[in-house]
């Protein structure tokens, strides 16, 4: 079996297991209240980390590039209460235009 297939099957199996573990072990039980407070804060913590890494990280280095500018434009659109589609398009268009001219 080629290295590619080994990686594909192992990563696939691992990912399926990682995603299924919580829902299988926890069942349909509601989380206890203290946990619920922590779980409520998982979203802001994780979303902010995804914003940071997807806008400013390339592999293992921090970079300030067109994605950062797109994020800034998205921030302005969000402050102006633009709908999600507009926010996403504004970010992509900003990055694309900057790449076009630089």
């Amino acid at each position: 079996m080629s290295a590619a297939w080994v990686a594909v099957l192992a990563v696939g199996a691992a990912t399926i297991a990682i995603k299924a573990a919580g829902p299988l072990l926890a069942g349909e039980r509601e989380l206890p209240l203290a946990n619920a407070r922590v779980v409520d804060l998982l979203a802001p913590a994780l979303l902010a980390a995804l914003v940071a890494t997807q806008a400013f990280a390339t592999d293992e280095s921090l970079v300030l590039d067109e994605r950062g500018a797109g994020l800034l434009a998205a921030g302005v659109a969000i402050l102006l209460k633009a709908p999600l589609l507009v926010v996403v398009v504004v970010a992509a268009a900003t990055a694309a235009l900057l790449r076009l001219v630089t």
Binding site: V6, V11, A20, A45, A48, Q54, E60, L84, V88
Partner: protein
Amino acid sequence: MILHTASSVLRLVPESKTRQPRRGGYRLGLRAVTPLLPAVLAFGVSFGVLAQAAGMGAEASIVMSLTTFAGSAQFAVVSVLGAGGTAVAAIGAAVLLNARYGPMALAAAPAFRGGRLRRLLEAQLLVDESWALSRREGGFDRCVLIGAGAALYVGWTGGTAIGVVAGDSLADPATLGLDAAFPALFLALVAPLLRNRDALAAALLGAGIAICLTPVTPAGIPVIAATAACLVGLRRPAAAPAPSYDERPPGRGAPAEGTSR
């Protein structure tokens, strides 16, 4: 219509005045994720193209999108293998990148229904975008998660198949700025949460941890470590007055504290 729906979904997050329709929930998820589908499709195509270029083979590339269904991990595998790395190195990188799905799926666990097999399958539709879009105050909307997740799944695997077949003839998603779409989405989804002080603290701490760890740890670790920021929820017991943490203005201090751990 899409415009209207997307804005109402955004407003649904704090769940204030907007009525949340119960029927047609899957369609609500599909509509919520529609603004992202072009970008997801384009990245699926780009994964297919890169996987071919790295010599992964058509079947392995498509099977990977069908089973792993996680962009960053799949790109990591392609780049490690393409650079001549071993399968073990590729697997390690991908598993680290996907480790965040552990806590995310646990948080969303009460939303899944049915027997073990069904829960296992439903949980596979959990990815960053479907998780974020389906989050509500105090839980997750199962229909939105599944509707959005299924649309993302079709877009991602379909895009991969197109990329595998069409090869290099298609545009690089970065040229279209599509890589900037994802952080913008996550910013739009986190923004309404930040009116809450604890959430703001968790967000600043999470972003700070991720930024500080990026240059010094393998990819994947920064985001996983950032999930620890949700533990600020333990800092304030229900009836007790707010501890000093909340008295500090959130700013540079919060992220720095997390990274010294």
